[in-house]
Symmetry: C2
Subunit: 368 residues, 2 copies
Amino acid sequence: MKFPNKYLRNLRPYKLASHKVWQVNPEERQKVLKLDWNEATVPPTPLVKEMVQKLIDEPMFFNLYPSTFNEHLIELLSKYVGLPKENLQYFGSSDLLHEYICKVFISVGDPVLILGPSYDNFRLTCQANGANVYWSNYTDDFKFDKENFESDIRKIEPAVVYICNPNNPTGHVHTVDYIKYLLDEHSDTLFLIDEAYQEFSGVTAKNLVLEYDNILISRTMSKAFALANFRVGYLIASKDNVQFINRIRNPKNLTTFAQTATIAALTDVEYMNNYTKEVNLAKCWFKEKLETLFSKKMKPYESAGNFIMIEFPSYNEKMSLLQFLAENNIFVRDCTQGYSVRKCFRITIGTKKQMEIVLNVMMKYYAI
Amino acid sequence: MKFPNKYLRNLRPYKLASHKVWQVNPEERQKVLKLDWNEATVPPTPLVKEMVQKLIDEPMFFNLYPSTFNEHLIELLSKYVGLPKENLQYFGSSDLLHEYICKVFISVGDPVLILGPSYDNFRLTCQANGANVYWSNYTDDFKFDKENFESDIRKIEPAVVYICNPNNPTGHVHTVDYIKYLLDEHSDTLFLIDEAYQEFSGVTAKNLVLEYDNILISRTMSKAFALANFRVGYLIASKDNVQFINRIRNPKNLTTFAQTATIAALTDVEYMNNYTKEVNLAKCWFKEKLETLFSKKMKPYESAGNFIMIEFPSYNEKMSLLQFLAENNIFVRDCTQGYSVRKCFRITIGTKKQMEIVLNVMMKYYAI
């Protein structure tokens, strides 16, 4: 007797990257350069620790379910995003938001089109909800092929098209004009724009939700705002779409710690802005160094996120460097989404000081 | 153009209870007796605060995704439950575990049978996943009707039968022998036993997962362990069933705060045991007082959980007392699951001292 339903029998799980940082003691943790999950490489604004500490000193609340509606949090989000409160909703991670989106907008058997290679957890979420996932792929050298993509949309007639913008791991970013064009051109298709890395690119389609109901935007507090541990994401969408999702959203899911940390981070947006500027400068510097020093060893791709994807002449050369970096406590992300990225890894960009450490280890590896 | 899929169009949302405690400042919060969500009415073991404080004093981890596999936590769970690690898995709330269960074991259109009235959020989770929900009901005076229930199982042939044990809000508890009998008798049917209140009843079907694969048990750290704010639940099931769910489980979902608090609580099980004993004594005392003092005004039902359901002669009489209690900062839960409970509310049982406060306000209301 086997209970699991039919679309789960052959499901390929989301592949988890190494996570050694939690296997060492807290002091050792600081020696690890965790550049594998695109987290911020620095702590969030000190206001987070301060407000979390204040929370703990308050009369005990651990035994109570968290507030199911934090108006202050929604107001700060509204101010930060620059859109009315009714166009926003927070969730216990953007992964969880993606779950709700699949539930509300996808029926079993519906086709979903992912512009890939991309964030693989969304593929799993779709398949776990019974969708048929199709890919429209970047070219072999990771360029966007407009004709091919739009022909795939027409051919597959997907219920949802997923575009990660900027895209993880390739780094490509679409303009707002192009997204607007897609919404007009394919007005019966729902586009989910994953803006997890939006703060690094500065490009956002957020204003389109005021005009269009075939766009949903997911965002996260895990990247630029440095709150990955708290698991907070949010939705930007038309009022109607926010309300559809609210009908099944579990409002207990965001703990008071997470609510407080988000409020703290949104109270000091300047701190985040400074960090994204620093990362973007370090990214240019690091990419240029790779191109100068290792021009025959690897090819780093242009990226609008806090990461770059690097391609190597062969799979073995990639794995060899990846392992050497790991031995030196530098963790990068092996790209495993398919054949096209088999010779690539993705490295999160941190501060210039952190990237200097990485570069030095690479120079040691190549004996430069 | 309307995107939402067909089974969501007419969905009735889970009705949220009052939550005034988060609208007052932390000092005021202590004056509120929050007896509406069956949370513990006291803080968890002081070890929780201590370990959470220690965590904050560690080098910053806020920017990192939480550990995706906390072996210490699983070991402590295994010790507490008294079953091998392979029969256990933790989740970011039992609500979230229920989501995964629906996804793995229910296909769209499948019938699900709920022994009700019961926890209404599970109904919503099933419907949001496209299941057809049926109820098998307790009798008009909230007794369990074995013949009727089993005839409903045979008639409806559900993919999943949901039994909350002890049942919220009616308080009824099934014996392990009866659950074992159900598993034998309906061996093609999957039974989900929600043991959210198990620590108060002392009755658990947990050992049956070693023999049967048609039983899943969900538990929570939100009730007896007093960790509602952290949103932690866990599954007890056969090794195969745990693995099925692991295929789609998002392992990032439990924050380091939640992992740490759970470890702290499981390190001091005695504290929890003392609390459940205290609640059970207060429950007997309170019920007896109600029966003695207000025999013509209300009927409290026997309960194996940390709550009792009270029935009033009319809906208006219920609402009037409920409002009077609220004016006195005592919040109880209006039962809104349907016609049978329309004259009932549910009150969480706390310590004897807390229940004395409630009783005094009731005496004031009835001018005794």
